[in-house]
């Protein structure tokens, strides 16, 4: 299995389960040794197709999905996943081409917020989203971004 196929399989796993695959099982399903999978993950990380937890071969992000809990819970049907940020929460809806419910908190006062994508429209549609890092610097520290 080449790197593109590994990348696709990772995203298919997130779409089906809302979480990252476990590397040992995932390597077997990909027909790769664990060392071969680790090398593929390193290359995909270097290409910014995924993000690994620093110093490991554990997935951190497969944008828009997060492999770790965040403040952006996205639910669709009977499934759910965490997104990396508000943009990525909508990104899950876009990637899956489905309606979702996003649960988060107002960053200013902590108030619980629920926003839906319903029939392709955002409800409610009067919120604003803060982008704190200029585009040219997004990958300087992707975790902060």
């Amino acid at each position: 299995m080449n790197d593109a196929a590994v990348r696709h399989a990772i995203f298919q796993h997130f779409a089906a389960h809302g979480s990252a695959p476990a590397n040992a099982d995932f390597a077997m399903r990909c027909g790769l040794s664990l060392a071969e999978l680790h090398a593929a993950l390193d290359r995909l990380d270097a290409a910014h197709a995924i993000v690994l937890k620093p110093g490991t071969h554990e997935l951190w992000m497969a944008m828009p999905f997060s492999a770790v809990p965040t403040g952006y819970l996205v639910e669709w049907g009977e499934r759910s996943a965490y997104a990396n940020c508000a943009w990525d929460a909508f990104g899950i809806a876009a990637a899956l081409d489905t309606d979702v419910t996003i649960t988060t908190n107002d960053p200013l006062d902590g108030t619980a917020l629920v926003v839906r994508v319903d029939g392709g429209r955002v409800v409610p549609d009067d919120h604003v989203v803060h982008f704190g890092v200029p585009a040219a610097q997004w990958w300087t520290d992707i975790g902060f971004t």
């Binding site: 593109a4 196929a5 990348r7 696709h8 995203f11 298919q12 779409a15 290409a47 910014h48 197709a49 944008m63 828009p64 508000a86 943009w87 990525d88 909508f90 990104g91 899950i92 809806a93 876009a94 990637a95 899956l96 081409d97 926003v115 994508v117 955002v122 549609d125 009067d126 919120h127 604003v128 989203v129 803060h130 982008f131 200029p134 585009a135 040219a136």
Partner: protein
């Protein structure tokens, strides 16, 4: 950014992410998306 623009940006950015043929967009392609959505200025420039 209005939340509706964030949704539009997400659709432009992520709609093909589950495709087996996905590839990372070039800076020119990304800049074109930003411009289409009215995202202009230093914050949206790769300068």
């Amino acid at each position: 950014m209005p939340i509706t623009t964030t949704w539009a940006l997400a659709r432009a950015w992520y709609s093909d992410r589950l495709s087996p043929d996905w590839r990372r967009s070039t800076r020119d392609e990304i800049s074109a998306v930003f411009t289409t959505l009215g995202l202009v200025g230093p914050a949206w420039s790769f300068g």
